[in-house]
């Protein structure tokens, strides 16, 4: 695992974070489904740490804002259309999380059976980007959610040991954490993927 320069984190008095879905008009996914996907993604990090997350309707009340954007969207990091760069997020305590609206996001059902060659699992990308929002950099461990790439029609949402060790060094451990899933301990990379689900 790796951190950003200076190891930025959310301050100790900021352990209960609020997030808002602020730019969803560029996606056909309905709001309820989006809320469910992001709630699950945040819960995966919360389970391992002392952090909690709750959705709020008010952007001004939120620590984290999440939106779908096409192309240039004002932060100097334009999106590039289908595939390529899927999303990006800023380190603490910025809180911005942007997704490329051009992607064929899959928010429900089995992404490994998606008909589109360009289908990308929304929850998998959300778990990764939340890691950045919390201060995690990219990992060289292929089974870690903080690995920089993800193939199409692939689902990778479980924190690996590498992810858990990294986030717990930043925020401490949740005493109720039950440990990483057996398939993500680091010895045998496993992901749910379709046959030949390459990156294009």
């Amino acid at each position: 695992f790796a951190y950003f320069a200076g190891n930025p984190t959310w301050p100790p008095l900021k352990r209960d974070l609020k997030y808002a879905l602020t730019a969803t008009s560029n996606t056909a996914i309905d709001k309820a489904t989006l809320s469910a996907v992001f709630a699950r993604a945040f819960a995966r990090w919360s389970a391992a740490t002392t952090l909690t997350f709750a959705e709020t309707e008010s952007a001004s009340d939120a620590d984290v804002t999440i939106g779908f954007y096409y192309g240039a969207h004002g932060d100097g990091e334009p999106f590039d259309g289908v595939l390529g760069t899927l999303a990006h997020a800023f380190s603490p305590t910025d809180g911005r999380f942007h997704l490329d609206a051009a992607e064929a996001w899959v928010a429900e059902g089995d992404v490994t059976r998606a008909s589109s060659d360009t289908a990308v699992d929304l929850e998998s990308v959300a778990v990764h980007e939340i890691g950045h929002l919390l201060g995690m950099g990219h990992s060289a461990v292929a089974e870690a959610v903080m690995y920089p790439t993800i193939k199409t029609r692939t689902r990778k949402v479980d924190l690996a040991r590498d992810d858990v060790e990294g986030i717990q060094q930043l925020y401490g451990s949740n005493p109720n954490f039950k440990g990483v899933a057996p398939s993500t301990t680091g010895s045998s990379p496993e992901m749910e993927t379709s046959d030949g689900g390459g990156g294009g």
């Binding site: 950003f4 390529g84 910025d94 060289a140």
Partner: protein, 120 residues
């Protein structure tokens, strides 16, 4: 014009902005090949090469800096460290990914304790 006016339009074409890197497979130091400048842009964006000087662009030359950048990339992604654009390296490069940089200034890697540079 509403989309419903053209109900038989085919879906958007399959697009991957990095697919052209496949044309560079097999390139190695000393080569001059159209498209290497785009690859350098890619590697610069993700931190493996410094940005070109203001008002200039990358060249299509496979130089020492590109060789070193590719070696760092291969090391980070657990590939054979050859310095050449072998097929497995190209396959990794065209895989969809997060827009946050892996490395900055070639001085730190995904294996290190922190990622320098842009906090995006």
């Amino acid at each position: 014009t509403s989309a419903s006016a053209f109900p038989d339009l085919p879906p958007p074409p399959f697009v991957n902005p990095w697919l052209s890197f496949q044309n560079l497979s097999g390139c190695h130091m000393g080569d001059e090949r159209p498209g290497l400048a785009d690859l350098k842009d890619y590697l610069s964006h993700f931190g493996y090469l410094p940005s070109p000087p203001p008002f200039s662009n990358f060249s299509d030359s496979f130089d020492e800096e590109l060789d070193a950048a590719i070696r760092t990339y291969q090391r980070n992604f657990g590939l054979n460290v050859t310095g050449t654009l072998d097929p497995s390296t190209v396959d990794q490069m065209i895989t969809p990914r997060c827009g946050v940089a892996d490395v900055i200034n070639g001085t730190s890697t995904m294996n290190s304790s922190f990622t320098r540079g842009r906090n995006l």
